[in-house]
Subunit: 249 residues, 8 copies
């Protein structure tokens, strides 16, 4: 409820257009649709600038269908993340307009054209082939938000020349998303080479002492490069979301 | 064995009604039925005010059937928690009087009517749709113990208006159960908004750095709201049990 | 900002008593005093029923003096917790009306008499002599909030008879606070013996595998007694605060 | 290789009965049979007093069959622990003389009668029905080593009377094995009630903050009862092994 | 070594101005001054846009003096972070032109005026008074980098109105830095209320289960608000550095 | 309260020697002396066979003096463990009959001669010179309980011959206490060489990845030798206590 | 890009053989083949002396086939590690020249004969039969790199004579790889017995407090033998790789 | 006790030169001097090729003096590591022939000249100035063992050019020791650039999520460069010791 909207409501109340009870209701009731087990935030696009994104993991096909339909009813593009292959197939059978992106495990319901925006490209750099699902989640989401994306994949620091060969691409970006598992050194090395914010995404790739990505996460938080911030393990979506915010003029 | 009961036993002994051996037996032998692999606590209702609840996880259908039947033999309502869908189906085939609640994974054997009690409603607030199984375990158990329950679901703090829209409901409750995964901020925000005890239930919803709910648990234990106490991860039953105790006049 | 107060403000606005800007201000501005480095919550007593409590650890004597004086200016009793002995001495030199409680490290500024309230006594049980500072924090705070307190100290489960000897006292309480370090078994044993809520306070007493109280904390969260909820390590204040809420009629 | 045996070998060497190479061989070569992927310790019975026990988890049916046959060839009883149901069935098809104990997941090849020994019975106490597999592993192994075993099951501290009712049995034992999951308080309570060594076995029973038994383990290591030592999580075998050593005259 | 500079060097080599050895040297030798125990990165301002910042913790007065003097020799402003009070006093005795900021533990050597830059103000929000040193490190560093800073201090979520009262200020910022200890819920709540990137700084404020800030860190990484990225515990400098990068047009 | 004593009390009650109230009192009141902040367990010697031991860490000189005097009043030997040098000196000034053992940080008040007992010697083996305080705590306590003790110090496995040279001594013992820090391999190696119970004491000796002894503790719990049980980090007293129980005929 | 190669490029540029753009390209472009989702490092054999090894876990059959074919196209031997049985079978169906080693889960594409090299044999010692897959990964990889390998398996320290019997073999090696799970004591014991580097490989063999190998890892890092270095849990490949480097003259 | 020496002893016994008791003594008694609280391993130089090194931390001046004198009595060079400044000063007052190296906290008693040995230089690379004490421990120890050492300090990956400028030096070494704190990326980057073994030493430099070096340690163990092995946190000595073994012809 922002100040302008409150002001407008008070004007309509003062003019008699809006009764006391309606005014109270309007102030108190939030802009969401209550589905019982989900309160779908239909005004999020207004409030934070992007349509609400549905976290698909752990939701049933039925829940996803109801939530997606409700959101789509407001006319926006709908994005579902972390959708398992089986769930995606079943959901698409019910909602054929859904587009499924297999590698990044995304489902998209496009209703309005995506307009290009952003001060420059977003570079998504990843360390190894196994990091691709997370890197692609970041890249695809960034594209859905209207950004141009440059992909530099399998460029881990054990073969530094693979990264250096794409240095120009990385340096031209206005934001860099660095995706890596294991020791996560890619974030620090990229961080030291560019003058832009680097959003580090630790992945759960590794074994033993990688502790399911916790080691990578902690290592990235200790990056000796000061331009690095970190999101949760495997959170390609979050990185793309913030990168999009940063990239907006 | 409380003092009054001991006194009564001693009276009967003094009057000759009870022999020495019987007295010793009565003092030493506990009020339970020994099934060999389980000592069913048939007097728990007297001792702590509720019928014994059977923790269903890890028990066989056979063990559950024997324990439930033994408890039911004392005339009380019987509650089984954490019962897997398959086990529930098999158990119900043997004990058709069982009522199965799917979402909260409960089985109930009702024998006596549940009398409404409590100073006011118990509010169960949860952060996201994925928290529903735990929230419903709390809500259903609280209802089985005679409380009126208000459900406020999918009201996580990232869309604060969804919570604020139900603030009246939450504030009217005599106890609040706050169920959340991820960073668990709901507990602190609710804690700061109400003047009643808040029982926080961390859920295992999340990924990566949520560490299976341990992060949520630790965060809730560090709540800056002083009216928050915490139960184990996913322990909706425990929260409802304590809320019921608090709500009794 | 609750609904009634909003209603009243709108009435005054409708009657012309309150201008538009003043109305907006009243809705937006919070009931606190901004000291620059602290926003003193002067209306907390109204909102959650107790005066605000100042967490003393890590605050300078100067900060504590300014905050305490601001709160005292609203006419309430002021409570400072976790105040180091040196800080307490210096603070009292500046505010002689402060009363210092050494063992529980509390400072109290009494302005209004504490009225007895609560459905029954609160029992504070602790396992060992080393747990006393935390147990006393809980006991003293509960008394400051108007509760009658029963102390049962050094009653750890390795000598069970020490606890059983005070069982009547513990059972008569309307809430029990169980304070223990090491393996924290006291919480479970007490929980199994009473029919009331038990608030468990793990202490940092122990060494080696006690991990500064984390082991105790985790153990208490796994209590096999369903009536146990838990607060942070050494958080005697929080336990007393919740116990007071529970104990209010 | 102990001093007496070395002395004897040197005598035989001095007398010419044993050549230099044979002496070196006898000193260097260990009393085991090398199967390539396993060095079966055939002299363990002599060295530490019990036949070697085969840890079944992670070994193939073929490996187990070869190892068991080799050990059996020395005339001793053979014990396989942690044997999965499928593996047990397959192994028994190949070695029909094997006896399978389902609950404790043991396989036994009896060749010599088990002679009763030990200063007194070993009591195996467990907290809940779910702890039975571990408790039975301890009990069955202790019996295989010739001890009399007293079982006290489902005697967790939340219903203390269930334990106290069997206190005589527990106190008559010469060693107590306390098996519990969750907060593991049983170890401390039993420890405080008896004057004998208590071997605590944490189990992986629990959820959330039990961390797969690590919480129980750490709690037991912090027991306030001084007569408690601890073995690894779910290690019923180890507890029985040590209890047998303690119980031998 | 960027492509343009390499191109220029090759031009000078082609024209004979630069010999082969000098060319190799220029390509290989990095733009730093080697002090033996420190390689001072004198060209960092060119490469990543800000002067190099010296991490003061664990360095001797002598090391700091030499490094600062070397950097100052290149004409830039020099910033030392995490400088202990004693070290700061000694260092200032040797370098009187240093300006010491006590609360954020910074030392600044100003040589060139700081020009205002950035698309809008940076808001620094903190949860409690104890978070001030970290919040001030962030605020002061952001100002040194030419940003306008809005401070909203002691606005933790347990008294939500304190934050909401400053919501306009927070929403007008182009980036928000959210500083909090304990459960760190502030990051999620702020994240849900604004449409800009939020950089969360966990602090080590708390006790017991806060684990020196690790709980706060993990909680923030699990924020349910998608616009939150995280830096290391107490890393106010890093947050300000990234916020400045984001804020640059 | 054991059965025989209860029987005796009931006899006296039946004979009129003991009134009803006195009987109840005798059943309920525990054999301890309540000092307010400590419940001194004066009958522990009867119940578990050894005089109560006072854990000195964290207790004031005054508390220790009162507790020691109370215990001494029952005529037993009194043992204080973990007593800091300063506290020991002050305490001895008040109770000159105390004997202070510096290396193991013990204080002893001898009143009755210690009678030799036990089936054989207890061997205390330690890995390095730095483990001495813990090893000496174990050795001295075992001696105070009447055992003969064999010390084998600085016999870590990196120089295996140092251990093997004392193998006879270790094998002759009826129980072995193995004290080690770092990787704690000593416990497994000793365990494999003897046929008696081995009580492993991890020490906090080490640095970095030793995590204050937690690594050693966990390693010892995973010993591949089945005759090893473990006590808490640095708990030499506990090991000696259990060893004494095991060693009693 | 090493100095000599740069020198040569500059010569060719100076002589006009290589244009400016081609020179820049040659300096910037790395020696790898970009497959889109993988940058195959075809020059690694030149750079670090061994052909690139493909980490098979988590890669699809298609990705592995493309990467292996690309590498094989450069004429080297190709090694795939951590290949699951199903994947190996499918891959071999497509690339019949692949040789599958089942126990160590390796796939090998031999194109050039492996020449014996190294100063002496590499000894691979493992503690138990369950450690075989890791030990065999180390042994097979070391052989593929041209080393002679001595295997000493199932030689854990609980039966020390099994290790001592092979001491000569172990001492003759120029490097030792010690593979163990549980408490990992083998590394320290072997370390103390040889005068060569010992590379310790913790395995995930164990249960409960072994924490999936983390305990073993930490224990090995605390080895009291100074000649021990450590690789990640189950990393037999890494140990063999480093051992081969050490063994080269 | 190796086979040859045993053979020789047996020859002398056969020839009558050595009596039975002397033979047994020679076989059983280890080559150490027993000081009571320390068993000084005087033959270690023979057994593993270097004189025994004394770990100074936690030992008293008196213990160090006795151990050093005993070792020196065998004619070798003596090295004490981790010696605190105060201890070093006191020890030197008693043993003036000791040489104290302040930064790496070493004390050296030189008696025999150090002969240069090794296939090439050992490079010690460190990331930051704060890593110097550990790096210098490694460098100084390597020099004491006769190696030539190349130091490349303050070459962290955030300013990659500082490392690349010294790449020739690093590549010429026969072994590299990589010393770094924080995220420890230096180990992976160096590992990818050289064809020799890299021994990674994590340091405890960092704060917050560095967890006292544990993060760095875990990250290095997950290095994507296969030629990296790891030693304990801050263990410069161990790295130098192994590097010396590797470097010996």
């Amino acid at each position: 409820m922002d100040r302008e909207r409150l002001n407008a409501l008070l004007d309509r109340h003062a003019s008699g257009e809006l009764g006391r009870d309606e005014l109270l209701e309007a102030i108190a009731v939030a802009p969401f649709v209550d589905l019982g087990d989900a309160r779908v935030d239909t005004h999020r696009a207004l409030r934070v600038g992007f349509p609400e994104v549905v976290f698909g993991a752990g939701k049933t096909v039925d829940q996803l269908a109801r939530i997606a339909t409700t959101l789509a009813g407001t006319g926006v593009n709908v994005l579902i993340t972390r959708i398992a292959p089986d769930t995606a197939a079943e959901l698409r059978a019910r909602l054929p307009q859904l587009e499924i992106l297999a590698t990044p495990r995304l489902a998209v319901w496009r209703q309005v054209p995506i307009e290009p925006r952003g001060r420059g490209p977003i570079a998504v750099v990843c360390a190894g082939t196994s990091d691709l699902p997370v890197a692609e989640e970041a890249a695809a989401v960034a594209e859905l938000y209207g950004n141009k994306v440059e992909r530099v994949y399998d460029a881990g620091v054990a073969g530094l020349h693979r990264l250096l060969a794409s240095l120009d691409v990385v340096r031209r970006a206005s934001v860099v998303i660095a995706v890596a598992g294991m020791e996560g050194a890619l974030a620090s090395v990229v961080g030291g080479l560019v003058a832009t914010p680097v959003i580090a995404v630790p992945t759960s790739i590794g074994y033993g002492a990688s502790l399911g990505g916790v080691t990578t996460l902690l290592a990235m938080l200790n990056s000796c490069a000061a331009n690095v911030t970190v999101v949760n393990i495997d959170n390609g979506f979050g990185a793309a979301y913030v990168a999009s915010l940063v990239n907006r003029a």
